[in-house]
Subunit: 104 residues, 2 copies
Amino acid sequence: MIENNEKYEQLDEETLFIVSQTFKALSDPTRIRILHLLGEKECNVSEIADELSLMQSTVSHQLRFLKNLRLVKFRRAGTTLFYSIDDEHVMTLLNQSIHHARHD
Amino acid sequence: MIENNEKYEQLDEETLFIVSQTFKALSDPTRIRILHLLGEKECNVSEIADELSLMQSTVSHQLRFLKNLRLVKFRRAGTTLFYSIDDEHVMTLLNQSIHHARHD
DNA sequence: TTATTATATGAATATATGCTCATATATGTT
DNA sequence: AACATATATGAGCATATATTCATATAATAA
């Protein structure tokens, strides 16, 4: 009797959580735009809002989201906070996807 | 006077849409589990439901979602539909993310 | 044709998400 | 201290999403 005895290895809860969280961060157009801009240059909050025509509050909320996932970091200069990318691997995923979207 | 004259190139609407849709597909634990399973082997709907302990209806709804984005395809064998991966690039993104999640 | 099995679908519901408004906090300046 | 500027935060709202239930459809067998 022929049978396939190989048991499928489920993804563990923690991996599933991290992976879904990561992709969730990249699933919103506003966050993609912010990450893409920060991929070009370090920016403060109002620069991001101006460049992308978003409300300061919107940017701040999304930056908190991205900061919680450690995808961005910031440095302070007086009252101004300069944000930049803190996870090159996630930026690689984003850039791959952008490249793919444009080339087929 | 020193000035940075380089203008930031915004992502165009269409790219933004495709990229966000792609990542949205990968942002849900149920869809991740289904794609990961299909990455191992072609499966029919009830196999997926059994293997992942999901309702048949849940699986079917999510498969429709994935099929609309052309991430999966199917072949018919009688009343049974065998689903499989139809976008290797997206699977690469998923596998990279899984690998990354596990290794740091 | 009727029955059976596999899958798909629509409606309803509960939850999550993103944005905006108003306001709070934090730093720096006068 | 009082004020100005930059950013953060909480509440409210509208929309999106995932799941479940009940039922429809499709292919096949008897």
